[in-house]
Amino acid sequence: MEQIIQVTILGIGLGGVFALMGSGLSLVFGVMRIVNLAHPSLIIAGAFTAYWGFRLWGIDPLVMLPVATVLLAAIGVLLYKVFFERNAKSATYSEMTVLLTFAIAMIIEGALGAMFSNTQRVTSPSYATDAFFIGNVFIPKGQLYAGLVSMLIIGLLAAFLKYSRLGYAIRATTQNRDAAALLGVNVNMVGLMSFAIGIGLAGAAGALTSFVFSFFPAKHWEWIAVLMSLVVMGGMGSIVGTVIASFGLSIIAAFVGAYVGSTWSTMTFFLALFLVLLFRPQGLFGEKPELL
């Protein structure tokens, strides 16, 4: 029993971080219909920001989080301006943007690798290796803090989407781009803003990741399929769905890791991705088959 609680807690801890990683991806897809394969590499860029803040000046990664967010949001604006604005009317838009983001992922990986080399790194503030004990069950502090902060950020994002004017515009554009444009929403501006927010969320997720996982520039390939499984399962574009899928799959993965073998825990995500694509391509919470 104790072990079951323990495994569940570890799964929830991971789920919190994955939820933040996936929600930015989901937002970008919802508004722009871009499957952003570069998202994990941007998360790594955010992790490097937090890492160097801690290494050089001893700034806590949680304090570096806003810095990483703003920095990555600026990179997002740049990427949008350079790569995506001009292609919005192309006929093979969705397929082409996938390849384009794949190329961007390689560019970012190459740039990070050339600057910082491909060694394993982890930010190590004091809480990263510490834990709370309740009886025999332990809660790792790093994962707890990361999960709480990411829940806070997702809560803010949800409130922003629900109550602010830009949030209305973003949701309207997600639902129907043409209708939103007809009603006077500046869809290009909304696209730019949501792209910046989505990439900014990648930066925030990166800062949290930097003390939860060890990372190196080439690691983003391992995360692409994991994040895709969360977003596809949640229904592309649905942030609530992504969050639920993150917690659900992370808990299952934790159980697979504990009872089958730790090497197989990531298999949970890949198999889930395959099964969802096959049997319910619109995802658990998606309304219509977007990708078909």
Binding site: V35, E95, G110, G113, A114, P281, L292
Partner: protein
């Protein structure tokens, strides 16, 4: 009486159409410079003669590497170019071919060059089965599922003890002097590359290829026009896996070891895609030109900078520039402008 008349007129129509098509084909043949690829092939077949006068192993290696990429890119092109299903996971079949032939070589000592067609068939069988599953979705969903395919394969091969896990298996090296050691693989790879390009030409000019092109333009219309799209797509997937599997078989023995980190890295899949985009997706000459250019570029980059990270950066940059400004690739863009030199018109 009446039905017989219809039969005879329809026969006339068919023969007239056949004659017309023949004329069109003859005219197309005149603008095509078939001698050019054949001349290159003959030149490359004679290239090892240089070994008599000096040591040109590096040059042979480069040609061999280019040939392997030509075979892989042209194989990928059958699915990604003709049918329009972009796969970022085709190195899985490279791995399947390499591992199948490599394990046979390690266990029974049968050379991978002899086993290459069998390895190709094994890869094609896997391709058929995987295609039945993943080709149910299209567009971005298919691309995502192809990446997941690589991840699953990597996890399986890394943890499969029979094939050595992450450390892989060392294969016996051939018993030849270093001067001639590369030759069997050189000729094998050249043969595979030539076969792949020739097959892709034949496929493009067949009814099957026409169906694939219809699928890439508009799958729903193709389906309603009576094309069995599912069978066509899955078959194209299996055929492209066949050629890539054969390449993997020879490549594994050439390297004398098989290991997940050689076959199942995403850069190889990215290279296949990039070569086709660079040269021109859906053309016969495109993958060949893309492969030659990319191998040359990589060698230049490694020689100049020496760092694989910059190599990844450069690959990404070329891919982004091509996608943004020349999505049709070199052959496609030139053909669109009517400036395609005759020697590059292989379609």
């Amino acid at each position: 009486m009446e039905s017989q008349m219809i039969k005879s007129t329809s026969g006339d129509v068919l023969s007239a159409r056949a004659a017309h098509n023949e004329r069109l084909a003859r005219r197309a043949d005149k603008t095509r410079a078939l001698w050019f690829p054949l001349a290159i092939l003959v030149l490359l077949l004679a290239l090892p003669l240089l070994q008599f006068v000096g040591n040109y192993n590096y040059m042979l290696h480069l040609v061999l590497l280019t040939a392997s990429y030509v075979a892989m890119a042209a194989g990928w092109n059958i699915l990604g170019g003709f049918a329009g299903y972009v796969s970022l996971g085709h190195n899985v079949f490279f791995a399947i071919g390499g591992y199948f032939a490599g394990m046979i070589l390690a266990r029974f000592g049968i050379s991978a060059i002899i086993m290459a067609p069998v390895a190709g068939l094994v890869a094609a069988a896997f391709g058929y089965a995987i295609g039945l599953i993943t080709l149910r979705v299209r567009g971005p969903a298919f691309i995502i599922s192809s990446i997941a395919m690589v991840m699953i394969a990597r996890l399986l091969f890394d943890n499969w003890h029979f094939v050595g896990g992450a450390n892989g298996v060392t294969l016996p090296a051939p018993n030849l002097s270093s001067q001639w050691a590369k030759l069997p693989y050189y000729y094998a790879m050249l043969a595979i590359a030539a076969l792949t390009v020739w097959s892709s030409y034949r496929i493009k000019h067949s009814k099957f290829g026409l169906g694939l092109r219809a699928i890439s333009k508009d799958e729903i219309k193709a389906e309603s026009a009576g094309i069995d799209t599912r069978f066509y797509k899955v078959t194209a997937f299996a055929i492209s896996a066949f050629f890539i599997g054969m390449t993997g078989a020879v490549w594994g023995e050439y390297l004398t070891y098989i290991r997940p980190s050689i076959f199942l890295v995403i850069l190889i899949a990215a290279n296949m895609v990039l070569m086709c985009i660079l040269g021109g997706k859906g053309t016969v000459a495109g993958p060949v030109i893309g492969a030659v250019l990319l191998v040359a570029f990589n060698e230049f980059f490694v020689a100049m900078m020496g760092a694989s990270e910059l190599n990844i950066l450069g690959t990404g940059l070329i891919m982004a520039v091509m996608l943004m400004f020349f999505p049709l690739g070199i052959v496609g863009t030139l053909a669109l402008k009517g400036r395609l030199p005759r020697i590059l018109n292989w379609d």
